[in-house]
Symmetry: C2
Subunit: 341 residues, 2 copies
């Protein structure tokens, strides 16, 4: 048999639907990044491998805003702004006080630029005095109907397709994945379960101080305006330690504020820095796709510098993802790989 026929056979094999069906990450473009994920998961789940990790220790942590769904604006800011506007007539003082004044005057533009602390303060103040149950019911109703101003989709449809695939792939390989959000834990919980199938108790986030009161003979939890914990930056490793009690072996965050650097560093095993099999994986997502999502970076480049120094995987939304959202066709507007800088 000639070599040409064998070659033809091989090409046909690669192109069969059967081969395509077993790719666990079809929305990720083939390349070194995708291969690194596949290699890591294979290595840590192969008994006898030098980097084998027992299923009980396969803990993965994911930032949410900008890592699992868009953050310009993120869902909690969008929700807080709506509630703030509804209640503004009863609060004339908000028109003189930051960050409320800026949020009410600049509205959408404010949400594009605000930091996590200010956004969560809006949530805390806009919902102060409400019971936890009423607050959650409000948030669920809002997230079920409100549409993202640019994409005109409900928030549950804004999950990044490649990240949905990654979470499903990790689950199939015995990982237990948590969301570790700098935003409201309650808002993140609603989206986590509806868009990613992540249980509410597997979500860690920012929270307000609440009180237990007796009202009409029943115990009721009411929210105060005071922030209990802003779960950002150096607080993330501490909250992971307190909630889970194990150090993750995979962490994913994104470039914008530097708020995920500590979490990614915390997940890194010393051995990973060298060559050879990986014992942990750090994923840093870069928003460089102005066509399909947004393009923005970090003023001081701290996240990218940390990634370079520590050998973390940097994901380009533009070049590493064949598809961003389920409502966009794969590769519909994706730039050619050859354009990659």
């Amino acid at each position: 048999m000639s070599g040409r026929i064998l070659l033809l056979f091989a090409v046909i094999s690669l192109a069969t639907p059967c081969q395509a069906a077993i790719d666990p990450l079809p929305a990720w473009r083939d390349g070194p990044g995708k291969q690194r994920i596949l290699d890591f998961v294979r290595d840590i789940s192969t008994p006898g491998s030098s980097s084998y990790v027992t299923p009980a220790e396969r803990i993965a942590v994911f930032d949410d805003d900008g890592t699992l769904w868009p953050e310009k604006p993120g869902p909690q800011g969008f929700f807080a702004l709506e509630r703030l506007r509804l209640q503004a007539p009863q609060h004339p003082e908000w028109h003189k006080q930051m960050p409320f004044k800026a949020a009410l005057e600049l509205q959408g533009r404010y949400l594009q630029e605000a930091d996590n602390a200010s956004l969560f303060q809006l949530v805390a103040v806009a919902q102060a005095g409400r019971t936890q149950e009423a607050f959650r019911s409000d948030a669920r109703e809002f997230l079920g109907t409100a549409r993202h101003p640019r994409f005109q989709q409900t928030w549950t449809r804004l999950a990044y397709t490649p990240m949905r695939e990654l979470l499903a792939y990790l689950r199939a390989n015995g990982f237990h994945s948590f969301i570790v959000s700098a935003g409201s834990v309650d808002v993140a919980r609603i989206l986590a379960s509806e868009t990613y199938g992540i249980s509410g108790d597997d979500v860690i986030g920012s929270s307000v101080v609440a009180t237990l009161r007796d009202e009409d003979g029943k115990p009721v939890l009411r929210r105060l305006a005071t922030v209990h914990a802003l779960n950002d930056g150096a607080v993330k490793p501490l909250s992971i330690d307190q909630h889970i009690g194990l150090r993750p072996i995979l962490a994913a965050g994104n470039v914008r504020s530097g708020g995920d650097i500590d979490m990614l560093r915390y997940s890194q095993r010393a051995e990973t820095r060298g060559t050879g099999p990986q014992h942990s994986l750090q994923i840093l997502i870069r928003h460089d796709d102005f066509e399909r999502e947004y393009a923005y970076d970090e003023k001081d480049r701290a996240s990218l510098n940390a990634a370079d120094a520590n050998g973390w995987m940097i994901v380009s939304m533009r070049y590493d993802w064949r598809q961003v959202f389920s409502f966009q066709t794969a590769e519909a507007s994706a730039p050619a790989q050859a354009e990659r800088p």
Copy 2:
């Protein structure tokens, strides 16, 4: 066929091994208490029933010390006392300062009487300055070898058999069970996974303040001597709300300090107080078995009063449990049901 033969047949049926095998709670004595558990689980898991609850909302919370294993002493106090004694030579001030002075002088007798706040303070101080990883490794080693002073068993063997059965039964019926401890979350996590198969992230407990430091270029979590949260009394509903984000439909605690009253009240649905199908279940364990375990009550009877006022189920270890520990034979020393007061 005569009635006598039919009756004989019925008696044989009840006594067959097949019947015994399908009892999910063999260590619980048959009676109204056990029946109440069985009825509740059947009602909330029967689609179409007026008290049906979806699997996602079948949340159960359990106190640990005195509810899942003995608390005279509990494991965290026993562990803290040992560490305190080891370090006492370097801390002459402990001999003048409470609660350290009392713990060092009275030792085992101190553990019998100390309240949760004092016990957790011992844990916090005795382990201050250690990394979280070193602390957990210490605790795991201690719990793997130390023996309970009276029962001469390792702590992992001190799980109450009826509660192991109850947790397995709930799991088989779609419940997600959490431990909500007033003791050290780290100590409870080790025992939870080894004795009850409850994952570490499903344990909520008391914690100390920790810091994230950079040591030799690596992020390290170190414990301070300061209590971050004492997870007792009114704090339990708040920590459940923050960690899980759902109100439980089953809560179990025990009589001693009144520390579980708020958690049990929080789990109660208003409708449960009336007659008819139950929408939630509250279980309060009473230590009234001086032969197989211990007999003690609560000075102000607050837990029992709350149980009476709200219709909670009170479990007598002496009369409701056929077996307490796996290393004791069933009914070996159990008093006859007829003796029940």
